[in-house]
């Protein structure tokens, strides 16, 4: 508990958290404010509204988590480790404390966004989406898997800054990019965490989207392009998330428990 408390203190005091969280909340408020102010025309039902309000939830949360947890382990391979790692505390405990603290902060942030989406929906429509409980549960699992994946990255690097940057690039840029390329190639990106995260917003729909949708467009000169988009099944998303969570934590622990502090940055 001492380590968890210290890590929570760390997040509370980081400039990152103080800057990123307000931006995250502002992003969550944009859609409700635009609808509330009449700038945008309200969707016909609560489901469309919630889908719109939670539209950027997954990518924003992934970015927030990468920024928060990107250096959770790598900070120990700087000079701070000369204190932390020489204490009679198992590295697995230190790692779990760091993961738990990062999870708590990311989860609170995600709950804020979902809360804003659901509450504004209730204010506008007098109802909330039927799947709100499932959305909360799966979003918690999603946050857990993103945190674990980012912790894995942070265990690979020595410098906190580089590990944050690489984590952000991988989960926020590389993964969506791969998804786009695979869509063009007609391959389901079922190994990508961000793909699994789509389950959260898909659950806002009245009827869950089809697993495969193909759109064929004809261009000039007889050229036709077929773009196949995939939507994860709920079970599939849960399996991917759980796999990332378990495998990432196991790998991170393996690396962290064996890593040596040869020199510090």
């Amino acid at each position: 508990m001492t380590m968890v408390r210290a890590d929570i203190g760390f997040y509370l005091h980081t400039r990152r958290f103080k800057v990123v969280l307000p931006i995250y909340v502002i992003l969550a408020l944009i859609i409700p404010i635009l609808y509330g102010a009449g700038v945008l025309q309200k969707p016909p039902d609560i489901n469309d509204y919630t889908a719109s309000a939670l539209g950027e939830l997954v990518s924003a949360t992934v970015l927030l988590t990468a920024l928060l947890a990107g250096d959770s382990i790598s900070q120990d391979f700087g000079r701070q480790g000369f204190f932390t790692l020489t204490q009679p505390v198992r590295r697995s405990e230190i790692m779990l404390a760091r993961t738990l603290a990062a999870f708590l902060f990311s989860e609170v942030a995600m709950l804020l966004w979902i809360g804003i989406g659901l509450a504004s929906g209730y204010a506008f429509y007098g109802a909330v989406v039927a799947n709100w409980g499932l959305i909360l549960a799966i979003s918690a699992l999603f946050v857990g898997s993103v945190v674990s994946f980012v912790v894995l990255f942070s265990s690979l690097f020595k410098g906190p800054s580089i590990s944050v940057v690489v984590s952000v690039l991988v989960v926020w840029l590389v993964m969506p990019l791969i998804t786009g390329v695979l869509d063009l190639a007609g391959v389901e990106p079922s190994f990508l965490l961000t793909y699994a995260g789509d389950v959260v917003t898909n659950l806002t729909a009245i009827s869950y989207p089809q697993h495969v949708t193909s759109i064929t467009a004809s261009g000039g000169g007889g050229i036709t392009i077929t773009i196949t988009t995939f939507e994860p099944y709920v079970w599939e998303g849960v399996v991917i998330m759980a796999a990332y969570l378990v495998a990432s934590l196991a790998l991170a622990w393996l690396i962290y428990s064996r890593k040596e502090l040869k020199d510090a940055s």
Binding site: F83, L85, P88, K262
Partner: protein, 300 residues
Amino acid sequence: MELVADGLVKKLGTTTALAGVSFRLQGKGCYGYLGPNGAGKTTTMKLFTNLLRPTSGSATIDGVEVSKEPSRALKAVGSLVEEPEPYSFMTVHEFLEFAVRIRGRRVDASEIKGISDRLSLPRPDELCSRLSKGLKRRVFLAALLVQGTEILLLDEPSAGLDPAESVVFRTIIQELKKEKLIFLSSHMLFEVTQVCDRVTFLNRGRIVETGTIEELTRKYTSKALRIEFTEKVPTAALEQLKAQGALLGFEKEGERMCLVRFDGTEANRKHIVDGLYPMGIRNINDAQLGLEQAYMELMK
């Protein structure tokens, strides 16, 4: 209270940082670990604190092998290795409390205050991130004291301390060694002479000498004579003695003063004195060079 290094070897890439170091430190006292930069002192400290794992051999604390059961082995040990960084968002007081709690101990506010006063720490509500290098060092020393472990591993502990802080630090070590085992690495010979009971010399990853300060001082001092002549230093006579193998070398320390090195045997001592007596000797003494002399000899 026991620290045992048994054939410790540590390879870092292609470099062999430690090439089979063995020692056993038992009971209260302060044990110095001396050597030049790159000798392997910090590597040894890191092996005893689980920051590195040995390539072969073992580091054992109170019978528990560090690389196998680190959290159990480190229970008895407080360490200050290289230049640690406190949690920057914590205040000095919060960090000291954290240092106690992380060991599963209860915080004793009066103890923290006492140690803080003694080490003249900055205000308790001062953020650690705002402290100078020297003050951070003092905060870590305070953390070690509040943790109250039986064994202390101190790697160049007074690096970054100003002269006044160094004096306070040495006084504290002299008190602590009455009830704790302190393993202190340094290349500051004066500090080691002041606080350590026994010294181990390390060079290029190997132990080259071990003994009490007195033993080593005696051993290496007896290999040099400081001679004051009535006239100019008789260089020709000294060269002749050197050619005869009676002395190993000599260094002029002024017009009439000279330091003569020899193998320490009585026969050669007599040979040198007899050979130089006709040149007019005003004074002749065993050179009081102590640990510094030993260090210079051993690090050649």
